[in-house]
Amino acid sequence: MADHWQRVVEKESNSVDFVYSSFPYSYRPYSVSYYRSLINNDLLHAVILPALEGDNLRNDESVRMAIPIEKVQLIDDVNEAQSLLLKGYVMVLLEGDGKHDGILIPVPVVGGRSVTAPEVEFTVLGPKEAFVERLDTNLGLVRRRLPVSDLRVHRIEIGSLSKTQIAVLHIEGIANPENVKTVQDRVKKICYDDIIDSSFVAQMIKDQPNSVFPELLDTERPDRVAGVLGEGKVVILVDGASQALIGPSTFSEFFTASDDYFIPWQMATFFRFVRILSSVLSIIGSPLYVALLTYHYELLPQDLVGILIISRETVPFPPILEAIILEWAIELIREAGARLPTKVGQTIGIVGGIVIGTAAVQAGLTSNILLIIVAASALSTFTSPIYQMGNAVRLIRFPMMLAAQMWGILGIVLGVIFLCAHLIRMTSLGNPYLEPLFPLRISDFKDSYIRLPFSMQRRRPLELRTKDSQYMPKGDSSQGGSSE
């Protein structure tokens, strides 16, 4: 064996799961080296080793042909061999005076979770498949829903340590090439050694890294990904992550659930309205309480003020402190609930929620009306189908409460204006985030804040500037009923 190969083997032998064994008495003497943890051992022993024992292996090419596995390659380059070893290849070094030093055979172990039902974005109706951590499985899930050759997958490897495989998906002929290029460029520019999850990528290619709002929509539903690819968006899949990223996304899409397309459009529109309204109420609920009780008693009718005053009779804190304490308690229960193991989680949730809540009111530390407001707004943050948006809503409440403390309802309005300005300033992959509200594009309302029937969804969103703007060819009325 040549010196440089010897060195490679010695270096790798520092790991306990590296295996090196030589077979000097075969017809063609050879040695095998591989990482036991990365390869499929059954395949190695049942197929590869018997093939290497054959007695017609006159030259390198015939060795390659003897192994019944695709993508077997002849190698001379040490560095390449080394990196492929780490990807689940078996290296076979051939003794003798062949043209090549050896061959590499891909036998990676196929493991990981099998496809299960979505947990974060569960829907009552519709398909129940969710992405898993393996990139190829995920690609398969998408491909099965879009069996067209125009679905292009572009692979990029990032991360000097993690060597994470990133797949950028788009449909050629529909997606705006500029968006595709933006995604590819930005992903390539990522310079970080260890990419664990797609959320890393999402944060690193954000237009506004300092915004609390998510800019790329993350989803675990292959049907959603297939849907947006058809719309003309770009999708990023990351190996090792069970969430796909979708861009460019708009604010309204974070209030869109896959459910909306499985139910009649009137209901879908209503539910979207409910989601957005409850998120707004969740942001201004407790600030409003603070503002009303600190400054504007007279805004409330007499009967209501009576109830409020009685409920606050024994509370020793000013409203702002009361609200912050209670909001804090809710965050506590939620954080604890998220960290606790599933089995104790529910119990603790009930204990925390009911016992602490009731006890706090009975002890006279908070008013029960505030308890209702805080609990309702905590619940409202979960109405956004995308978890990240719920998180943003969760955080915004606190500065809003401070504004309410300083300037009453005027403070809340100023806070809302600030939020509006912020959302207007934001872009997702260079596309306006608040579209279709601003820039105002009436026709894009058809599937954003409201959802109109499929028969009215003839054109793709203007925002994406797609190459092919029609969902349906003209004159095809198969989806819109027979009336057209």
Binding site: I190, Y295, H296, I417, F418, C420, L437
Partner: protein
């Protein structure tokens, strides 16, 4: 582990700076509605009594004509006010008159913020110091204006859509309205009506910022329909409000209501909410803030057009500090009123005397030049 993946602004795609025509509707309409919309009823009723609604219409028609002339003056070369000045008045004089506009925009912005903060002090927080509320608003203005024209336009759009519910609430006073208050129609003389129209004009001002953002609109002259309908929408809105006010209050009552629109909001009552004028006043922050933003953006734009190397951001900060100081120094109802009156008079002169004159000069110069 080192993080280098974050992108700087320069690496990001610069957003397309031109806006589509429909936004002109919002820009024109939103800059017209401001503090004036809260109290114009009394002022015009002083001049023309229960016929003052006609003044709303007359002034509205004047505005339509003014917008028509703006398009006429600019559309041929798709230029803005600075280019127009330069072409008609020459480099030196043009610069001076452009500066006049800049000062006008800034002082109008200051007037708007001061009158709003005064309103807040009178109606909501008698103890609140001027500086705290002004500071909060001006910081917001800085955040919006420094975001560029797109953000200013976006705030204009939202400032029309979001507080729109206030208008729907005015249906409630109609229940108690007495429309015979409007009779007999046509009692005011023509002179009285014209006088009232002139007073009414203050509530329509601000639209001459159009002269600055016209080149940033996609579609140029074709957007005139949007501009006209924006102004028309303002007119209809004021018209409806003035009819409701005149029908709800008797003439004598109205003369005592300085902020008549608020007094109308007072009528609104829900089982869970009383004294609705508080909500109205707070929501009005949205309506006035976009005025300030657009005015300041226009003044920054003038600076950048006159001296392209100058730093717009520094100028903006300086202007905001100036407005802030002015807000603190101006105290007392009389002083504020005088200042606002002064700025408004100036506005009418600029909009309806100086600009037509400028167009005329431009028109004749062009004519003479063509005939050798």
């Amino acid at each position: 582990m080192k993080l280098q993946g974050q992108l700087t602004d320069a690496q990001l795609q610069p957003p397309d700076d031109k806006i589509s025509g429909i936004h002109v509707f919002f820009l024109i309409h939103s800059v017209q509605t401001g503090v004036g919309g809260l109290g114009f009823q009394r002022i015009i009723a002083q001049k023309a009594g229960h016929d003052s609604w006609m003044a709303v219409l007359i002034a509205g028609v004047f505005v339509q004509i003014a917008i028509f002339f703006m398009y006429l003056a600019l559309k041929k070369r798709r230029e803005d006010l600075i280019a127009l000045h330069q072409r008609i008045l020459g480099s030196w004089l043009g610069k001076i008159f452009s500066l006049v506009f800049m000062i006008y925009f800034v002082s109008l912005g200051a007037a708007v913020t001061r009158s709003y903060s005064e309103l807040v002090q009178i109606w909501m927080f008698p103890d609140l110091s001027t500086w705290s509320i002004s500071l909060a608003m001006l910081l917001l203005v800085f955040y919006i204006v420094s975001g560029g024209f797109r953000v200013v336009v976006g705030i204009s759009v939202l400032s029309v859509i979001l507080p729109f519910y206030l208008l729907l609430l005015l249906i409630i006073p109609i229940e108690h309205a007495e429309f015979s208050n409007l009779l007999p129609i046509g009692e005011a003389t023509f002179g009285q009506l014209l006088n009232a129209s002139k007073e009414m004009m203050f509530s329509y001002l601000g639209f001459c910022t159009f002269l600055m953002y016209y080149p940033l609109i996609k579609g140029g002259p074709r957007t005139q329909k949007w501009a006209q309908s924006g102004a028309l929408f303002t007119m209809i809105l004021y018209f409806v409000v003035s009819i409701i006010t005149l029908a709800y209050f008797s003439e004598k009552q109205l003369l005592t209501k300085i902020w008549a629109t608020f007094s109308l909001f007072k009528v609104v009552q829900f089982p869970f909410l009383e004294r609705f004028e508080y909500v109205g006043l707070a929501s009005w922050a949205f309506v006035i803030l976009d005025n300030v933003c657009l005015l300041l953006w226009a003044s920054v734009r003038i600076l950048r057009r006159l001296w392209p190397q100058s730093s717009g951001r520094k100028f903006l900060v300086a202007t905001l500090v100036l407005i802030f100081l002015e807000n603190i120094i101006l105290s007392g109802r009389d002083d504020i009123n005088k200042y606002i009156q002064f700025v408004n008079q100036w506005g009418v002169v600029i909009n309806f005397m100086y600009l037509p004159l400028l167009y005329l000069v431009g028109f004749f110069r062009e004519k003479w030049r063509r005939v050798p």
